[in-house]
Symmetry: C3
Amino acid sequence: MTDKKLAIIATKGTLDWAYPPFILASTAAALGYDTQIFFTFYGLQLLKKDVSLKVTSLGNPGMPMPMAMDKWFPVSLQALPGMESMMTAMMKSKMKKKGVPSIEELRGMCLESDVKLIACQMTVDLFDMKTEQLIDDIDYAGATTFFEFAGESDVNLFI
Amino acid sequence: MTDKKLAIIATKGTLDWAYPPFILASTAAALGYDTQIFFTFYGLQLLKKDVSLKVTSLGNPGMPMPMAMDKWFPVSLQALPGMESMMTAMMKSKMKKKGVPSIEELRGMCLESDVKLIACQMTVDLFDMKTEQLIDDIDYAGATTFFEFAGESDVNLFI
Amino acid sequence: MTDKKLAIIATKGTLDWAYPPFILASTAAALGYDTQIFFTFYGLQLLKKDVSLKVTSLGNPGMPMPMAMDKWFPVSLQALPGMESMMTAMMKSKMKKKGVPSIEELRGMCLESDVKLIACQMTVDLFDMKTEQLIDDIDYAGATTFFEFAGESDVNLFI
């Protein structure tokens, strides 16, 4: 075990970018890292009780699509109605088949490992979000509070 | 106060991603952090005298749109002509109503707090930008110079 | 020279976002940094023998397009068939004209400078990639192994 610390700022609100903060945080926690994730901007979506994140390959030509086919999908087709929902369903199916836990499961693993999840109060106010929309067991704080932890951390990641 | 240091690499050039570097830098500076932001790639847009950044939800399904409605906007509608300008106007209006300073104001707060703003010389050359297009009170340097500061920093963030 | 360490997590798979990890890593290595890049998620594309990355300005209004013209391109035009290929060709041509090495060249410079390139084993399995598709001279490991290095690094960047 270690006495190291990991501070993550999670700012993205899509299905694909929901994995890195939770996977990295749970991995670090398993190694004994004292870990905190500060959810701000679109990242606040990851703290919702009802996680209904979507994925899009628009603006993201690096995504193998469909994920197993490993070739590009014409951008003109990606803009078709319904494509976003289809891709989201495909990604979820792929993840499940490969044994990757869902976002809800990964988030639960983080909480069980004492990873501290913090909602950015300023963003909550900005987006007119209600605390009832977000899961329990989280803290609410500002960037100032978070810097106290980040300034002492061994690893800082802006995701 | 603290003797800690924060080094930010700002690489995004959209309205929404312009906030994190300036908000985090001004917050850290207020806490006494010696702070530098290295603007490179698309991030160079944030140093323009005439900041005319846009926001798009394309490739960004995590963005509540309109921001207060907290529901998804069909990707096919987002590709319509004029949608980008409408969304940019909505975001600016929302920010103003909520009392969030504009990018120009946040940038000014950083300069007043002695945050060092550095334009990546290589990117300036690559994009054929003129120094007259960028605000005064900034430095021009390469990644090598920036690493001198980053290597001594307590917090490093790639935004 | 220095005894400092740089740890990069490379997660993006587009042509434009392929530059930052390789440029920063090769710069740091030239300064004497012990440097590792952990390629995960879409970033795994950067390790392919046949690098055929694309760039899109969709979801990326910060990109000057064409890069020298420094003005915005209507999002509705960007969704036209063939636009992505045209933009990719334009970016490659621009980079070459300005003397910026190609991704393959930058990657080679990293390997020659003893930058350690690590493919995330979990993502390789998830995307059903074959090791034959990826370049030689790389390691395969999980996030746990990477944290051993990251936890000791002076600079950590999530790209």
